[in-house]
Amino acid sequence: MDWYVTKNIRRAVPTEEIPCWPYARFYTETTEKLIEGERYHCALYFGVPAADGRGLIFYVLLADDATGEVLLASWKYGYYDEEEVPSLTARFPAMHPFEREITEQFGIRFSGHPFDKPLRFAQDRADRGLTLNNYPFWRADDPSLHEVNVGPIHAGIIEPGVFRFVCNGERIVHLEIVLGFQHRGVERLMRETGNRLRQTTLAETIAGDSAVSHAAAFCQVAEGFAGWRCGALDAERAVAAEMERMAMHMADTGALCMDTGYQLGQVACEALRTMTINTTQRWCGNRFGKGLIRPFGTRFPLTPEKRELMAGNVTDIRRRYEEAGQDIFTSPSVLARFEDCGTVTRQQMIRIGAVGMAARSAGLKRDVRYTHPYGAYAETVEHNPVVLEQGDVMARAMLRYREALQSADSVLALLGREPETDLPEPDFGRRWPGNALSFVLTEGWRGEICHAAVTGPDGEVLAYKIKDPSLHNWYALSLAVRGAGISDFPVCNKSFDLSYCGHDL
């Protein structure tokens, strides 16, 4: 059997149609695809206990950016198998979070893995002897180097994570990032409850700043099992997602200004971000859009009055943000901080499998809305991603600025359409079919979000897998600060603004 080829559309894939190869063939086939570099990237690679309880099945989802196809395959690790299998990470560093996760969850070793360290310090990890105190950090034995440890508890209000720098004076030689302190077992909770409403609210909490994107991803997985779709509902979800993108990009523009000590830009952007999330609140009662996205329907249809109010606000926000951006990006003192700082090259981004705005800031045209259009992006909104070449903090800041303006335009275009009168109410009762896999790729404001669910013979959930773009992109931060001054780390970090809890789940 060859790769199972499908598109990023809502449908249930019967698991028996997905090829199940021996590992050797799986390795060769995957290598053949990934070796092309830019075209394919691994969207998800995860293990599921086999339905008969004998062994594990590992599914891989490869996204083909050239054709918009998604390739599915699997391999089986039998009950009595003990041997190590060759590591894909050794050839494709982008695979490292997936293989590390598999090792951590199931104790399967990959031979030749260059970065064989725990991905998260989860409670249900395979090796319970590991703690932060004996974490195998890379060490610097050279007397001219020194180590600086930051975290896991930080000043300010950011989430926990360890940053271990190896420095030569003020210059960073290497940065190692250890996460996992936010692990809540979201995937397990999603898997164990059959309550769709609870699953939806859980999805909203995967990463608090991407509540809409993750909830929409979950809903599309649920709707995929039923093969259900509704164009008008998709359009409203796109409005919500673009509002979230606007709000977060503005917040991060402000935060970048704050980290460089540029007060004027900071206060201007913070105010606009507040206006944006308050507009979402006028729509659904919650500033982060919690409660707005529900499977098979909505409780908050966009009435003509709401459309008018939101369009007015968004027009105003767009105009003011454009002014603020022009001020920020023409200030010499700000440009001196942003330009040529924290550069990640296009080649590096491909190697680590970066997605989303981090990839686009380095010339890699990776945007699910464009490569694998879904929902409204497949029908009503034709999305043309913003791509910049430099890959430095400036590029990421500028990308945020231009994407936020673009999102505002999309919102206005969607709001200007004739409102749909009868949107369905949410439906939490539908059962999921047996022996099926449903997945979805969506573009959150950080980048590609992937959710997938696999069901057993009776429709029980064997695995619910979540991938936040942060999983890939944290490594980009390590590369960005290599060779930079240690005092530039905060602004580099903020330019990516990756999620800790989205990574830790």
């Binding site: 600086v148 300010g156 004027l264 001196a336 001054g485 005092s487």
Partner: protein, 304 residues
């Protein structure tokens, strides 16, 4: 006595003026003018907590810093009022009292063994070393212009009011405002508001202090900033009045320093850290330029 009291008052007001300027320029109402005093009162009413790896040196630092700043403030005259303590050469004493406070803070930071504080100490030592020539060229210029090496007699003797001297004095005041930015740890050299340990210079060295010790260090740095601001104001004020500036002018000019610092902090971003050295050397180079300018002028001018 009046001048010393003035410096203390300026120390209290200056932080308030800077905060208020920043708030107004960013479209906010801002905290009350004396919020920082309430904060310090809170700190002073608390005890102190010490890391077990620190020694006696670490504990002595806040007192040394505050004492050095207060002693330096004793040497600063205000307009027509002489300094409480003045003698020939007190300008040098002033510079080294500030340096003493800095050295103490650096040693205290190193005593903690923290990697952050080590980095902060190394940055502070570098900036201190680079700004010191600037300060001395500044004092040298004043001495060259007046033939005195005491603030009180210098400001008494300045104010010849010739156009050349006005130019030089304005240049000197400009230099000293920049010195205030560097010594006070303000933007663009340092960001007093940041919570990011890796980018801090002055703040990071205070990270291990809490309660009463932190209060003393904070008050010490206010007094230091106020002393420098008063010297800057005195320099430029001496041009206006014949035979010494009026007290009112000095007051206004000190307030102006606060407004300038607040404005700079509102309208520009911080330097990248590795450009700070260049920035500070530029200040010192300007001071050297002022010194040479006065030297050349003194060959033609009627200066005793």
């Amino acid at each position: 006595m009046i001048s010393f009291l003035f410096v203390l008052t300026a120390a209290v007001f200056l932080t308030g003026i800077i905060n208020r300027t920043r708030a107004l320029l960013s479209g906010r109402k801002g905290v009350r003018l004396f919020q920082h005093l309430y904060n310090v009162r809170l700190l002073l009413s608390k005890g102190a907590v010490y890391s077990p790896v620190t020694g006696a040196l670490f504990r002595a630092v806040p007192a040394v810093c505050l004492a050095a700043s207060v002693t330096a403030a004793l040497l600063v005259p205000m307009g027509p009022y002489p300094a409480l303590l003045h003698f020939e050469g007190d300008m040098v004493a002033f510079a080294y009292l500030l340096a003493l406070s800095r050295a103490a803070l650096i040693l205290g930071a190193l005593d903690t063994g923290s990697s952050f504080e080590g980095m902060g100490a190394s940055r502070e030592a570098l900036y201190g070393a680079l700004i010191e020539p600037g300060l001395f060229f500044f004092f040298g210029t004043l001495a060259l212009m007046t033939g005195h090496t005491s603030f009180t007699s210098v400001f008494g003797a300045l104010g010849a009011g010739t156009p050349e001297m006005v130019v030089v004095t304005v240049l000197l005041a400009y230099i000293l405002v920049k010195v205030v930015l560097v010594e006070g740890g303000r933007i663009p050299v340092d960001d007093p508001r940041t919570h990011l340990e890796l980018t801090m210079v002055h703040e990071v060295m205070e990270l291990d202090y809490g309660g009463v010790d932190l209060g003393l260090l904070t008050v010490g740095s206010w007094i230091k900033t106020a002393s420098l601001a008063t010297v800057a104001a005195g320099t430029i004020a001496s041009v206006f009045g014949q035979g010494g500036a009026s007290a009112l002018t000095v007051c206004a000019l000190v307030a102006a320093v606060g407004v300038i610092v607040g404005t700079v902090e509102s309208f520009r971003a911080r330097n990248r850290l590795n450009r700070n050295a260049t920035y500070i050397v530029t200040v010192s180079a300007l001071a050297l330029f002022a010194f040479l300018l006065v030297y050349v002028l003194s060959l033609n001018l009627n200066i005793e």
